[in-house]
Homo-oligomer: 159 residues x 2
Protein backbone atom coordinates (compact mmCIF):
# COMPACT_ATOMS: atom_id res chain seq x y z
CA UNK A 1 0.00 0.00 0.00
CA UNK A 2 1.67 3.21 1.09
CA UNK A 3 5.09 1.53 1.26
CA UNK A 4 5.51 -0.66 -1.76
CA UNK A 5 9.24 -0.06 -1.91
CA UNK A 6 11.51 -1.76 0.64
CA UNK A 7 9.69 -4.94 1.49
CA UNK A 8 10.62 -7.79 -0.81
CA UNK A 9 14.21 -7.17 0.19
CA UNK A 10 13.70 -7.04 3.93
CA UNK A 11 11.18 -9.49 5.29
CA UNK A 12 11.17 -11.33 2.00
CA UNK A 13 9.30 -14.47 2.91
CA UNK A 14 7.66 -16.13 -0.03
CA UNK A 15 4.28 -17.68 0.40
CA UNK A 16 2.11 -20.15 -1.41
CA UNK A 17 -1.54 -19.37 -1.93
CA UNK A 18 -2.59 -21.51 1.03
CA UNK A 19 -0.43 -19.68 3.51
CA UNK A 20 -1.46 -16.32 2.13
CA UNK A 21 -5.05 -17.36 2.56
CA UNK A 22 -4.46 -18.54 6.11
CA UNK A 23 -2.71 -15.34 7.08
CA UNK A 24 -5.53 -13.19 5.76
CA UNK A 25 -8.42 -15.28 6.91
CA UNK A 26 -9.79 -16.48 3.63
CA UNK A 27 -9.55 -19.46 1.30
CA UNK A 28 -7.31 -20.11 -1.67
CA UNK A 29 -10.37 -20.09 -3.90
CA UNK A 30 -11.15 -16.59 -2.74
CA UNK A 31 -7.62 -15.43 -3.49
CA UNK A 32 -7.84 -16.80 -7.01
CA UNK A 33 -11.27 -15.23 -7.33
CA UNK A 34 -9.91 -11.82 -6.34
CA UNK A 35 -7.14 -12.20 -8.86
CA UNK A 36 -9.69 -13.17 -11.49
CA UNK A 37 -11.78 -10.06 -10.94
CA UNK A 38 -8.73 -7.84 -10.71
CA UNK A 39 -8.66 -6.93 -7.02
CA UNK A 40 -5.32 -8.62 -6.60
CA UNK A 41 -2.82 -8.22 -9.39
CA UNK A 42 -1.73 -11.37 -11.15
CA UNK A 43 0.67 -13.22 -8.89
CA UNK A 44 4.13 -14.23 -10.01
CA UNK A 45 4.57 -17.95 -10.49
CA UNK A 46 6.97 -20.70 -9.52
CA UNK A 47 8.67 -22.70 -12.28
CA UNK A 48 5.87 -25.20 -12.09
CA UNK A 49 3.24 -22.51 -12.41
CA UNK A 50 2.12 -22.12 -8.81
CA UNK A 51 1.33 -18.68 -7.43
CA UNK A 52 3.93 -17.06 -5.19
CA UNK A 53 3.27 -14.14 -2.88
CA UNK A 54 5.22 -11.68 -0.77
CA UNK A 55 4.38 -9.43 2.16
CA UNK A 56 2.95 -6.81 -0.15
CA UNK A 57 0.33 -9.26 -1.24
CA UNK A 58 -0.47 -9.99 2.39
CA UNK A 59 -1.00 -6.30 3.03
CA UNK A 60 -3.15 -5.83 -0.04
CA UNK A 61 -5.30 -8.84 0.71
CA UNK A 62 -5.63 -7.80 4.34
CA UNK A 63 -6.88 -4.43 3.16
CA UNK A 64 -9.37 -6.09 0.85
CA UNK A 65 -10.69 -8.50 3.47
CA UNK A 66 -10.91 -5.77 5.98
CA UNK A 67 -12.87 -3.52 3.67
CA UNK A 68 -15.18 -6.40 2.80
CA UNK A 69 -15.67 -7.07 6.49
CA UNK A 70 -16.78 -3.49 6.78
CA UNK A 71 -19.47 -4.30 4.29
CA UNK A 72 -18.04 -2.49 1.29
CA UNK A 73 -18.98 -4.00 -2.05
CA UNK A 74 -16.26 -5.39 -4.26
CA UNK A 75 -16.64 -2.37 -6.53
CA UNK A 76 -16.21 -0.05 -3.56
CA UNK A 77 -13.13 -2.01 -2.49
CA UNK A 78 -11.77 -1.59 -5.99
CA UNK A 79 -12.11 2.17 -5.66
CA UNK A 80 -10.64 2.20 -2.17
CA UNK A 81 -7.65 0.24 -3.43
CA UNK A 82 -7.23 2.62 -6.30
CA UNK A 83 -7.13 5.49 -3.84
CA UNK A 84 -4.80 3.69 -1.45
CA UNK A 85 -2.46 3.21 -4.39
CA UNK A 86 -2.26 6.97 -4.87
CA UNK A 87 -1.22 8.39 -1.51
CA UNK A 88 -0.42 11.83 -2.86
CA UNK A 89 -3.99 12.52 -3.92
CA UNK A 90 -6.56 14.21 -1.68
CA UNK A 91 -8.77 11.85 0.25
CA UNK A 92 -12.10 13.54 -0.46
CA UNK A 93 -13.28 10.63 -2.52
CA UNK A 94 -12.46 8.19 0.24
CA UNK A 95 -14.54 10.31 2.53
CA UNK A 96 -17.48 10.45 0.16
CA UNK A 97 -17.43 6.72 -0.41
CA UNK A 98 -17.27 5.88 3.27
CA UNK A 99 -19.91 8.41 4.24
CA UNK A 100 -22.20 7.03 1.60
CA UNK A 101 -21.63 3.55 2.91
CA UNK A 102 -22.28 4.76 6.42
CA UNK A 103 -25.63 6.17 5.34
CA UNK A 104 -26.58 2.87 3.80
CA UNK A 105 -25.61 1.00 6.91
CA UNK A 106 -27.70 3.35 8.97
CA UNK A 107 -30.75 2.92 6.79
CA UNK A 108 -30.37 -0.85 6.94
CA UNK A 109 -30.10 -0.59 10.68
CA UNK A 110 -33.39 1.23 10.88
CA UNK A 111 -35.22 -1.19 8.65
CA UNK A 112 -33.78 -4.12 10.51
CA UNK A 113 -34.84 -2.61 13.82
CA UNK A 114 -38.38 -2.14 12.52
CA UNK A 115 -38.35 -5.75 11.43
CA UNK A 116 -37.21 -6.88 14.83
CA UNK A 117 -39.96 -4.92 16.52
CA UNK A 118 -42.60 -6.47 14.30
CA UNK A 119 -41.21 -9.94 14.85
CA UNK A 120 -41.14 -9.40 18.57
CA UNK A 121 -44.71 -8.25 18.51
CA UNK A 122 -45.69 -11.35 16.60
CA UNK A 123 -43.93 -13.63 19.01
CA UNK A 124 -45.34 -12.05 22.13
CA UNK A 125 -48.86 -12.08 20.74
CA UNK A 126 -48.86 -15.77 19.98
CA UNK A 127 -50.68 -17.59 22.77
CA UNK A 128 -49.22 -20.93 21.78
CA UNK A 129 -52.27 -22.93 20.77
CA UNK A 130 -53.05 -24.37 17.38
CA UNK A 131 -51.96 -22.99 14.05
CA UNK A 132 -55.50 -21.87 13.21
CA UNK A 133 -55.43 -19.36 16.02
CA UNK A 134 -51.74 -18.53 15.79
CA UNK A 135 -51.17 -14.83 15.70
CA UNK A 136 -47.95 -15.24 13.76
CA UNK A 137 -49.54 -17.07 10.87
CA UNK A 138 -52.36 -14.59 10.96
CA UNK A 139 -50.06 -11.60 10.72
CA UNK A 140 -48.11 -13.17 7.89
CA UNK A 141 -51.32 -13.75 5.99
CA UNK A 142 -52.76 -10.30 6.47
CA UNK A 143 -50.81 -7.19 5.88
CA UNK A 144 -53.30 -5.02 7.75
CA UNK A 145 -52.22 -6.58 11.02
CA UNK A 146 -48.82 -4.94 10.83
CA UNK A 147 -48.01 -1.78 12.67
CA UNK A 148 -46.13 -0.34 9.77
CA UNK A 149 -48.41 -0.37 6.75
CA UNK A 150 -45.74 0.22 4.15
CA UNK A 151 -44.05 -3.12 3.65
CA UNK A 152 -41.47 -3.04 6.51
CA UNK A 153 -39.04 -1.48 4.09
CA UNK A 154 -39.54 -4.35 1.71
CA UNK A 155 -36.63 -6.00 3.51
CA UNK A 156 -34.85 -5.87 0.17
CA UNK A 157 -31.12 -6.15 0.80
CA UNK A 158 -30.61 -5.51 4.45
CA UNK A 159 -26.95 -6.41 4.29
Amino acid sequence: MSDSSASSALSGRILGIGELARRTGCKPETVRYYEGIGLLRDASRSEGGQRRYDEDAVRRLTFIRHARDFGFSVDAVRELLEMADHPEMPCDEVDVLVKHHLEEVESRLQRLAALRDELERMVTQCAGGKVESCRIIEVLGDHRLCLREEEHGGAGDLR
Copy 2:
Protein backbone atom coordinates in the same frame (compact mmCIF):
# COMPACT_ATOMS: atom_id res chain seq x y z
CA MET B 1 -54.89 -20.43 3.86
CA SER B 2 -57.10 -21.17 6.86
CA ASP B 3 -60.21 -20.96 4.69
CA SER B 4 -59.56 -22.81 1.47
CA SER B 5 -63.21 -23.84 1.13
CA ALA B 6 -65.77 -21.22 0.14
CA SER B 7 -63.84 -18.83 -2.04
CA SER B 8 -63.80 -19.85 -5.68
CA ALA B 9 -67.60 -19.86 -5.54
CA LEU B 10 -68.08 -16.48 -3.92
CA SER B 11 -65.72 -13.81 -5.15
CA GLY B 12 -64.66 -16.02 -8.02
CA ARG B 13 -62.71 -13.57 -10.12
CA ILE B 14 -60.21 -15.22 -12.37
CA LEU B 15 -56.86 -13.57 -12.87
CA GLY B 16 -54.02 -13.75 -15.30
CA ILE B 17 -50.49 -13.89 -14.00
CA GLY B 18 -49.96 -10.18 -14.55
CA GLU B 19 -52.90 -9.13 -12.44
CA LEU B 20 -51.99 -11.58 -9.71
CA ALA B 21 -48.52 -10.12 -9.69
CA ARG B 22 -49.84 -6.58 -9.53
CA ARG B 23 -52.18 -7.37 -6.67
CA THR B 24 -49.41 -8.93 -4.61
CA GLY B 25 -46.66 -6.52 -5.41
CA CYS B 26 -44.37 -8.67 -7.44
CA LYS B 27 -43.66 -9.52 -11.07
CA PRO B 28 -44.96 -12.30 -13.29
CA GLU B 29 -41.43 -13.73 -13.42
CA THR B 30 -41.44 -14.03 -9.67
CA VAL B 31 -44.78 -15.82 -9.68
CA ARG B 32 -43.48 -18.33 -12.20
CA TYR B 33 -40.32 -18.67 -10.15
CA TYR B 34 -42.31 -19.45 -7.01
CA GLU B 35 -44.25 -22.05 -8.94
CA GLY B 36 -41.03 -23.50 -10.24
CA ILE B 37 -39.54 -23.94 -6.78
CA GLY B 38 -42.81 -25.24 -5.39
CA LEU B 39 -43.94 -22.37 -3.17
CA LEU B 40 -47.04 -21.89 -5.27
CA ARG B 41 -48.77 -24.98 -6.54
CA ASP B 42 -48.97 -25.42 -10.28
CA ALA B 43 -51.62 -23.07 -11.60
CA SER B 44 -54.52 -24.24 -13.72
CA ARG B 45 -54.34 -23.17 -17.33
CA SER B 46 -56.52 -21.60 -19.95
CA GLU B 47 -57.20 -23.45 -23.20
CA GLY B 48 -54.24 -21.72 -24.73
CA GLY B 49 -51.99 -22.72 -21.85
CA GLN B 50 -51.87 -19.48 -19.88
CA ARG B 51 -51.93 -19.57 -16.09
CA ARG B 52 -55.21 -18.73 -14.36
CA TYR B 53 -55.53 -17.79 -10.70
CA ASP B 54 -58.25 -17.29 -8.10
CA GLU B 55 -58.47 -15.49 -4.78
CA ASP B 56 -56.83 -18.38 -2.99
CA ALA B 57 -53.72 -17.86 -5.04
CA VAL B 58 -53.80 -14.19 -4.13
CA ARG B 59 -53.91 -15.08 -0.45
CA ARG B 60 -51.13 -17.62 -0.71
CA LEU B 61 -48.88 -15.30 -2.66
CA THR B 62 -49.62 -12.47 -0.26
CA PHE B 63 -48.53 -14.71 2.58
CA ILE B 64 -45.35 -15.60 0.77
CA ARG B 65 -44.45 -12.02 -0.10
CA HIS B 66 -45.22 -10.91 3.38
CA ALA B 67 -43.03 -13.58 4.94
CA ARG B 68 -40.23 -12.70 2.53
CA ASP B 69 -40.62 -9.05 3.48
CA PHE B 70 -40.08 -10.15 7.05
CA GLY B 71 -36.75 -11.52 5.94
CA PHE B 72 -37.60 -15.21 6.07
CA SER B 73 -35.66 -17.35 3.64
CA VAL B 74 -37.52 -19.21 0.94
CA ASP B 75 -36.98 -22.43 2.86
CA ALA B 76 -38.44 -20.89 5.99
CA VAL B 77 -41.41 -19.65 3.98
CA ARG B 78 -41.88 -23.15 2.69
CA GLU B 79 -42.12 -24.41 6.26
CA LEU B 80 -44.42 -21.60 7.32
CA LEU B 81 -46.72 -22.40 4.41
CA GLU B 82 -46.69 -26.05 5.34
CA MET B 83 -47.77 -25.10 8.86
CA ALA B 84 -50.38 -22.63 7.64
CA ASP B 85 -51.82 -25.45 5.55
CA HIS B 86 -52.40 -27.51 8.69
CA PRO B 87 -54.45 -25.30 11.02
CA GLU B 88 -55.32 -28.12 13.40
CA MET B 89 -51.72 -28.71 14.40
CA PRO B 90 -50.06 -26.98 17.35
CA CYS B 91 -48.12 -23.86 16.47
CA ASP B 92 -44.96 -24.65 18.44
CA GLU B 93 -42.92 -25.04 15.31
CA VAL B 94 -44.07 -21.72 13.99
CA ASP B 95 -42.94 -20.23 17.23
CA VAL B 96 -39.57 -21.88 17.09
CA LEU B 97 -38.97 -20.80 13.54
CA VAL B 98 -39.94 -17.21 14.16
CA LYS B 99 -37.98 -16.96 17.38
CA HIS B 100 -34.94 -18.33 15.64
CA HIS B 101 -35.36 -15.77 12.90
CA LEU B 102 -35.77 -13.08 15.49
CA GLU B 103 -32.51 -14.09 17.11
CA GLU B 104 -30.74 -13.89 13.80
CA VAL B 105 -32.17 -10.49 13.11
CA GLU B 106 -31.02 -9.33 16.51
CA SER B 107 -27.51 -10.59 16.00
CA ARG B 108 -27.36 -8.91 12.60
CA LEU B 109 -28.56 -5.75 14.23
CA GLN B 110 -25.75 -5.82 16.73
CA ARG B 111 -23.08 -6.51 14.18
CA LEU B 112 -24.46 -3.81 11.94
CA ALA B 113 -24.49 -1.35 14.83
CA ALA B 114 -20.86 -2.18 15.62
CA LEU B 115 -20.04 -1.63 11.98
CA ARG B 116 -21.74 1.71 12.00
CA ASP B 117 -19.83 2.79 15.06
CA GLU B 118 -16.54 1.80 13.49
CA LEU B 119 -17.41 3.58 10.26
CA GLU B 120 -18.40 6.67 12.18
CA ARG B 121 -15.15 6.59 14.06
CA MET B 122 -13.25 6.34 10.82
CA VAL B 123 -15.11 9.24 9.28
CA THR B 124 -14.71 11.55 12.25
CA GLN B 125 -11.03 10.77 12.58
CA CYS B 126 -10.21 11.66 9.00
CA ALA B 127 -8.76 15.13 8.92
CA GLY B 128 -9.38 15.49 5.20
CA GLY B 129 -5.89 15.83 3.81
CA LYS B 130 -4.13 13.54 1.43
CA VAL B 131 -4.68 9.83 1.11
CA GLU B 132 -1.31 9.07 2.66
CA SER B 133 -2.44 10.51 5.96
CA CYS B 134 -6.07 9.44 5.66
CA ARG B 135 -7.24 7.72 8.78
CA ILE B 136 -9.83 5.72 6.85
CA ILE B 137 -7.34 4.14 4.52
CA GLU B 138 -5.07 3.52 7.47
CA VAL B 139 -7.74 1.71 9.45
CA LEU B 140 -8.70 -0.39 6.46
CA GLY B 141 -5.10 -1.43 6.01
CA ASP B 142 -4.41 -2.26 9.62
CA HIS B 143 -6.69 -4.38 11.67
CA ARG B 144 -5.11 -3.29 14.94
CA LEU B 145 -6.60 0.17 14.53
CA CYS B 146 -10.10 -1.18 15.06
CA LEU B 147 -11.84 -0.96 18.38
CA ARG B 148 -13.23 -4.43 18.09
CA GLU B 149 -10.36 -6.81 17.49
CA GLU B 150 -12.37 -9.78 16.29
CA GLU B 151 -13.27 -9.02 12.70
CA HIS B 152 -16.44 -6.90 13.27
CA GLY B 153 -18.43 -10.07 13.07
CA GLY B 154 -16.96 -10.87 9.69
CA ALA B 155 -19.89 -8.94 8.28
CA GLY B 156 -20.83 -12.13 6.56
CA ASP B 157 -24.46 -11.93 5.59
CA LEU B 158 -25.90 -9.07 7.50
CA ARG B 159 -29.26 -9.37 5.80
